[in-house]
């Protein structure tokens, strides 16, 4: 198996990727998923630094595991243990990490655009692991991978993303990814969290749960980030659940073979009931597993294609 030719040095978002580039990542991820672990030393001797300035379990572990499976040396830095708590700027932290010989930096940060800022400062590839409400490209790629695994080509498929869209990087990255692969994307949820202005991006916006679920081939639920919104965006979790929560009764509105996705962490009983989250339609755990393969592909492409050494 060879690593395909790859041009972009960084992975900052999906919006700037072409369909061909997305396909390359997914194809490599599939090959890596099928290759026994011991044969995957593509990144032996490379140093991958996970710079996580915001709490993360799934993404950080998946990137760590991906790098370790590829035999890279992985260093994970969390905000609390870094000099950023001592007032060092992101710029200085990154320059130091580069000076220490990193071959790639995986950044999770609460500020939109911070990976782009980083990529302008340092020479090594920057991989965006989520920047504020901007993008979360590796999540969207693993969602694509999982969806294609289940329902094949996404061309012409109807996919609904439901929940807090406004503050969601997952929603934005998935919107770009799914649209580029030919799917029709509906963004659904309360009007304060799914403003009509998303239509300017080319999305269909719906505030009617039944209508938005009706002929969807897949439904992606997003966590209601109640710790993030002040009380002004929706009255309460209870009200959200009553109006937009996916429960057993409402599952009748769904197609029988609908695929249910959720990037996690799930608020069981809020955006989705346990029965549905754990049903045969749910691919939530496949998403997690595929997340490792997809991130292996991302690390390989970005790290190996960049000739800084």
């Amino acid at each position: 198996m060879g690593i395909p030719k790859w041009k972009p040095k960084n992975l900052l978002g999906i919006e700037s990727l072409s369909k061909i580039e997305i396909r390359k990542i997914l194809t490599l991820a599939k090959e890596l998923k099928c290759t026994p672990d011991k044969n995957q030393s593509y990144l032996a001797g490379k140093r991958i630094v996970n710079l996580f300035m915001e709490p993360s379990t799934r993404t950080r572990i998946a990137f760590e595991l991906a790098a370790k499976t590829l035999h890279a040396d992985v260093i994970s830095i969390a905000e609390k243990s870094s000099s950023l708590t001592k007032g060092e700027t992101l710029r200085d932290t990154a320059l130091n990490i580069q000076a220490l010989g990193a071959d790639a930096i995986v950044l999770r940060h609460s500020s939109p655009g911070s990976p782009l800022l980083l990529s302008r400062i340092i020479d090594v590839p920057v991989i965006n692991a989520g920047d504020g409400a901007h993008e979360h490209p590796s999540q969207a790629l693993l969602d694509l991978y999982t969806l294609e695994e289940k329902i094949g080509s996404l061309e012409g498929k109807k996919i609904t993303i439901l929940g807090d869209i406004l503050f969601s990087r997952v929603a934005r990255s998935n919107f770009w990814a799914l649209s580029k692969m030919g799917a029709k994307v509906t963004l659904a949820g309360p009007s304060t969290l799914v403003p009509k202005s998303f239509e300017t991006m080319g999305a269909i916006v719906s505030h009617d749960l039944k209508e938005s679920l009706a002929d969807a081939d897949a439904v992606m639920l997003l966590r209601i980030q109640h710790e993030r919104q002040s009380s002004s965006h929706f009255p309460s979790l209870e009200e959200y659940t009553r109006i937009f929560g996916l429960n057993k009764y409402r599952s009748k509105w769904l197609k029988k073979d609908v695929v249910i996705l959720h990037p996690g962490p799930i608020n069981r009983g809020v955006e989705i009931d346990s029965e549905l989250a754990d049903s045969a339609n749910s691919v939530i755990l496949d998403q997690v597993t595929n997340g490792v393969a997809v991130r292996m592909a991302i690390l390989c492409l970005c790290t190996l294609s960049h000739k800084n050494k």
Partner: protein, 428 residues
């Protein structure tokens, strides 16, 4: 005393709406009649355009003196290079000018370092914290030309209304940069299509418009003047237009950057495009330009807001707002407005010299005899490239770095003295 005669230029005098070729004479700090001229030094300025020194109603600095940011010394040189003879400093200074002693202290610094006229504003509330009225009468006596909490706006409506009412007793202009913080607290960008994609936003038009309405209603009910600073939303233009039709004594300014740029410029997270208020959409820009031309918006204020490079070189949402503007404001305004079919030079100078002077009630915007010799000479043909690092300002946070311009300010006389000299042949 020697008289200087600027010979052969096109003279724009917005105070009498004149645009004609004639000579202009001044001695000491005053413009004089040719009849009174003796001992004349002729300066040939054929082909150049002469107009009254520009007056700026919104200028911020970082330090008074020294420091590593923009201070009185550097900002006045930048302003002179941009053709300004007067700037009005906003009160976000250290120390903060909310008492007469501080005003006196800052005036001493100005006397020491400034090469153009610097006028002071006093705080509207103590410490600009929006809670308690500042001693407006004492501030007026100490010499401020207006009161404002810019770049903040008092959030408490009662404080605002009472400040306007109280200041009217002293005939002291009130300037407000309209912003309802409850709608824009963490706002780092206009809630438009660009910010939506970028995961930014939080500074919608309505945050400005509600406070524009507050100013209009206050002005209307009290029958007193209020000046709105840095209008950015098309809704604001509509409201002001309507209010002016009804005779409300509201005035407003707009910044050159809001006339020239829109939100699409922030798509690369370039913090040099982050301003207060934020850049908005094409529709807003159109309204702002039309608003100036039709008289709804009275003038152009630079909104010069220097930010140190290392402070700007951070994540977009964490970076301070502000762009520098003084050195490019005239060129940008000329470039944008000259494309309008109703553009005239007289109007441009009304926007940038006469009306700002009227709003803060200072002499300016006129080249008539007996006026102070604040005179700017502009070479309309000179092509130049603005590079922020070689400019006079100590801050580089301009959205117009590397811009090509045709026409350049080559000389600025302030009180009859040259402050900016870009090679003019002098004949004795």
């Amino acid at each position: 005393m020697k008289t200087i005669c600027l010979k052969g230029a096109r003279i724009i005098d917005p105070s009498i709406e004149s645009d004609e070729k004639r000579d202009i004479y001044f001695r000491d700090n005053k413009i004089i009649s040719p009849r009174d001229a003796k001992n004349i030094e002729y300066i040939d300025v054929t082909g150049k355009i002469i107009f009254p020194g520009l007056v700026d109603l919104r200028c911020h600095i970082n330090d008074l003196s020294g420091g590593n940011g923009e201070n009185i010394f550097s900002v006045t040189r930048a302003a002179a290079a941009g053709g300004y003879s007067t700037v009005v400093l906003m009160p976000n200074l250290n120390p903060i000018p909310d008492n007469p002693a501080t005003i006196q202290f800052i005036k001493d610094q100005i006397k020491k370092d400034a090469c153009i006229n610097v006028k002071l504003t006093g705080c509207l509330t103590k410490g600009s914290n929006g809670k308690v009225l500042a001693p407006l009468g004492s501030l007026k006596n100490a010499g401020v030309v207006a009161i404002t909490d810019s770049p903040l706006s008092p959030q408490n409506n009662q404080i605002f209304c009472k400040a306007v009412e109280y200041a009217s007793m002293f005939d002291l202009p009130v300037i407000d940069l309209p912003r309802d913080l409850s709608l824009s607290k963490e706002g780092n960008a206009h809630d438009g299509p660009t910010a939506l994609k970028m995961g930014l936003g939080g500074y919608p038009r309505i945050a400005e418009e509600l406070f524009v309405q507050r100013a209009i209603s206050t002005s209307r009910s009290l029958g007193t003047k209020v000046h709105l600073s840095s209008i950015s939303s098309h809704g604001s233009v509509d409201m002001i237009k309507d209010a002016k039709h009804k005779g409300v004594m509201i005035t407003a300014d707009v910044s050159p950057q809001h006339l020239a740029l829109t939100e699409t410029k922030i798509s690369n997270y370039d913090t040099n495009f982050k301003t207060t208020p934020p850049l908005r959409e094409e529709e807003d820009k159109k309204y702002l330009i039309e608003g100036l031309i039709d008289g709804t918006i009275d003038c152009i204020a630079s909104a010069h807001e220097p930010v140190k490079e290392y402070e700007k070189n951070v994540e977009y949402d964490l970076a301070p707002s502000g762009v520098t503007s003084l050195e490019t404001a005239f060129n940008i305004s000329l470039k944008v407005l000259s494309k309008h079919p109703k553009f005239t030079w007289i109007n441009l100078l009304k926007f940038m010299s006469l009306r700002p002077s009227e709003i803060i009630k200072i002499q300016g915007g006129s080249l008539q005899v007996d006026n102070i010799a604040n005179i700017t000479i502009f070479d309309p043909l000179k092509k130049w490239n603005f590079i922020s690092s070689t400019g006079k300002s100590r801050a580089f946070n301009t959205p117009f770095n590397n811009s090509q311009f045709t026409g350049k300010v080559i000389k600025t006389y302030v009180n009859g003295v040259v402050t900016q000299n870009d090679k003019i042949k002098q004949n004795n």
